[in-house]
Symmetry: C2
Subunit: 558 residues, 2 copies
């Protein structure tokens, strides 16, 4: 059996003019700012005109802990959106934008796969509508203003050793992680040690993705802490009068992007904060706009449910005042086998026992999501090598957990493969069963918030943090940041902080290495283990094979 | 008398949908890739379909040496384009895109002024269609690939001390001029000293602006020299297999942008290479496309005619195989007075003698341009404080030089103010009088090329260069780069290398500090005096006042 590659399928797409896609949601053509013929931004004025409308139903797609086998979370998000449209529902999907830098390293983007894709695929993995470039510019303008302020006399008394704001570039470039700038003498300022992160790790990205409108965005940008004085008083972006110009740079980027699935259904692709030091969801404004325009909105969150769904619920939903009506947890037989201890090379043959031993990972995610008061459906994203016995084992397991598992074939068949899932998801969403509440209340002390997540979501025994970290958390509470949610930065491969510990570990401790205040985004980042805010390129970067072919098409991007 | 500001006038513009503007030039709607409703890129396929058409007439707008009084070169380019349309000619203009970084420092952009402007003004000074971001990405991808190659074993034997390729950012940020990167240990590579330039100074920008098509672009990008080995052998971008991916990143940026003037006439705004270390003209592809679509194309070149027109003729025209039919030299009474020794604060009162003593600057530019075999018209860009006697003095002076001066009031009146100029320019362009030839032939030795420009254009006595520089030029000749044109980097304020020496100095020497090979762009940069490839921000950056007003409009950008 031979299959077409994702890029081959994407190139065969019969795209409709973006105005026709907008029309499906009732967006008038003049409120769509086109970027080429197949991409558009939804105008700010139009979005504001929607505010009295009722919201549609919100469906979150999340997954078991990711493995090298792949789960197909975005693919399932796309497939489910198409499936809902197929059964006659007015549905839209909301996903994140892809980062440019990593495309030149090892991986392509995140536009789904097989017959469940969003197009135009190449452009979504290149410059798209320029949102990430706008974030980069706004971030680096602030950086330049900080050093410029110090250069011209440092009236605010910034301690050059305590500038926490770095620079960003949308490129995998390890050489920029750690550097000394302002060398070369008086005209170039005061030398200091700093570095670059990748653009998606910028707090500006997190602000953009959590802001409700431009005014909210400007407030958040102004709230960003960029440095401290010698007496440890925070310096805000607002103190440098940077927030206005940053907002101007982000004015277009704040408008959600509309594209389409292979089946010509509307897809909002907007924002892309890191899923570790940020919350890993598409923008609030895109999700809220979609909820006003569609009866069903399918969205997703980064990594597995322990990180992605947790942050979606505790950060995004809390801040945006939205709530999921149903959660879909994606699993694949292959990934369950890996969670059950099978090596990637051995995934080809039937192994029902391994599937069964991987199932507790899925089981814990089901229970965790339910603990937010939201009903769960498991989508088994079918792979050609899956056997009936393996699928049956998962179905049986899930039933015992008080949920149901539905086999989906969207990768192979498009919406035809998710009819059953779509029907069931719509039923549950319409039922009003969901009684969503975040896991912790705003006023809970910060350390207790961390413990709550560690114990109830990760099933850890304890949180390990030295005095310095506990003191820091208490200091922020005194400074008025105690009401913020916490944003966990932990390995996505395990419920624990050990990436090799698959399945459903218990009894582990969660060591906290560092805590950071993102006062603009509005959360406390809790770093458990190594996190990488500037990736490097591999020995043979994908860039070497990326080129235009004779027909002018992009080769090698996937 | 009170006048509206540029931004007020721009906001009152009655813009037409960009498809209507394209239709004036016969561009079908499906060949225009819209960016919003008022900007579009002209599709690659359509451009290729034009190649057998005849070219229209090419009109270059240049100026006397710039002074703080301002000359209005872009304003005159726009005004002349509108004037040609007004008298019934099918005309288009071609200008450069503005750089984002400097807008947050001291100056706004370069979209004309008064009633001779190109719109949408704000967007042209912000992200526009993302071309500069694409240049930044392509440049920095190459940078990352260099350090990554060294990191993974340095198979090509790059001498880390001889990496000439830096990084770029579209921001005024002096802290990035000089730095040590790759600090922090083994995982971050080998520490080395490097820095960032502003994006417009990137050789990638020069390549984009000189390339005839995507294949030519890829060849140029591959030809870029990024480093040398210990034995001083050049390492090319091609050796790192970077050229394909860089071309992919620039694929959309290669397509010219179409916008409109206040009078709804077509304006191509594309590319923006630095006018010192590069050639300072809009893209070849935009100019050539405009020549296929319009009967008259008005374009401009950076700085005064000694730099801008010289490079336009010797670099752009030579490489693109195009030739100007007539050159318009813009002068203002105020700038002539400053060239005649008047201080800026004293420009308000009539001073015919000062105008007369400034005229030799204009006279020399006229003679220089004529030496290329191209007829000249002087446009006096009228300012409200100019008196009739002052204008008459210039007219009389220009007549003696065998040219004619025409008073223009486009800033105040739009095309009505350039009817006379347009009529005369069209006559001369149609006359076939122009007998264009570049100043030097390809095979002339490099040092002689420099001497030719210094003596014939700057009227210097001699070129001063030490043995190291002469040896370097000879070495490049031996390596096969002797046929390249030279790109002079000199102060724009004087014919000499002393910015304070206004008027028409003689007897000066031109000291060469440094020479650089831009093998991708295809020229040798000759640096005479200080050049700044990364500007800084002023004490009170414009950014502090840039913000969105209540109506959501951008304030403070101008």
């Amino acid at each position: 059996m031979s299959f077409k590659s994702d890029i081959e399928i994407a190139r065969e797409a019969r795209k409709k003019p973006i105005q026709e896609i907008g029309a499906k949601l009732g967006i008038p053509s003049e409120s769509l700012l086109p970027y080429g013929h197949d991409k558009a931004k939804v105008g700010q004025d139009f979005i504001e005109s929607l505010k009295d409308r009722e919201d549609g139903k919100l469906i979150l797609v999340t997954a078991i802990n990711p493995t090298p086998a792949g789960e197909g979370k975005t693919t399932t998000t796309v497939g489910l959106g198409d499936g809902l449209n197929r059964i006659g529902k007015k549905a839209a999907i909301c996903i994140r934008e892809a980062s440019l830098g990593p495309c030149f390293g090892m991986k392509g983007g995140a536009a789904g796969g097989g017959y469940a894709q969003v197009v135009p695929m190449e452009e979504m993995n290149l410059h798209f509508t320029g949102d990430f470039h706008a974030v980069t510019s706004a971030h680096n303008l602030l950086s330049a203003l900080i050093d410029n302020h110090i250069y011209w006399g440092n009236e605010l008394g910034i301690d050059e050793r305590r500038v926490t704001w770095r620079r960003v570039v949308d490129m995998n470039d390890r050489a920029l992680r750690d550097m000394v700038t302002s060398l070369g003498g008086v005209a170039n300022g005061f030398p200091r040690q700093t570095g670059f992160d990748i653009t998606v790790a910028s707090e500006v990205m997190a602000c953009l993705c959590l802001a409700n409108d431009l005014a909210d965005l400007q407030k958040r940008l102004g709230d960003i802490i960029v440095a401290y004085t010698r007496t440890r008083e925070p310096i805000y972006a607002r103190d440098l009068k940077a927030d206005g110009a940053m907002t101007v740079l982000l004015k277009d980027a704040m408008q959600p992007n509309l594209v389409q699935t292979l089946e010509n259904n509307p897809a909002f692709v907007h924002g892309g904060p890191f899923a570790n030091i940020a919350h890993g969801c598409n923008s609030v404004i895109a999700t809220k706009t979609a909820l006003k325009l569609a009866d069903y909105v399918v969205t997703e969150a980064g990594f597995g449910a322990d990180l992605g769904a947790e942050k979606f619920m505790n950060i995004k939903c809390r801040k945006a005042g939205i709530a999921p009506d149903v959660v879909v947890i994606v699993a694949t037989i292959r990934a369950l086998k890996m969670n059950g201890g099978v090596a990637k090379k051995d995934l080809g043959s039937e192994d029902v026992a391994a599937v069964r031993s991987g199932c507790p990972n899925l089981g814990r995610h089901i229970a965790n999501v339910k603990s937010f008061g939201v009903p769960v459906v498991v989508a088994i994203n079918h792979f050609v090598s899956d056997t009936a016995a393996e699928v049956a084992a998962v179905e049986a397991f899930v039933e015992v957990q008080g949920a149901e598992a539905i086999l989906c074939r969207h990768w192979e068949l498009g919406s035809e493969g998710t009819e059953k899932l779509a029907t069931r998801v719509a039923q549950i969403a319409d039922s009003g069963l969901s009684q969503f509440a975040p896991l912790y209340y705003d006023e809970m002390p910060l350390f207790e918030k961390i413990e709550t997540i560690a114990k109830r979501i990760y099933h850890a025994n304890e949180v390990l943090a030295d005095k310095k970290i506990r003191d820091q958390l208490r200091q922020w509470e005194e400074q008025g940041y105690g009401h913020l949610p916490v944003c966990m930065a932990k390995t996505q491969y395990s419920f624990s902080t050990d990436p090799n510990l698959r399945g459903a570990p218990t009894g582990h401790g969660v060591p906290i290495r560092e805590v950071r205040l993102s006062a603009g985004a509005g959360f406390i980042v809790v770093i458990c283990g190594e996190i990488m805010t500037m990736p490097g390129l591999p020995r043979t970067p994908a860039a070497e094979a990326i080129m235009l072919n004779e027909a002018g098409e992009v080769e090698g991007l996937f």
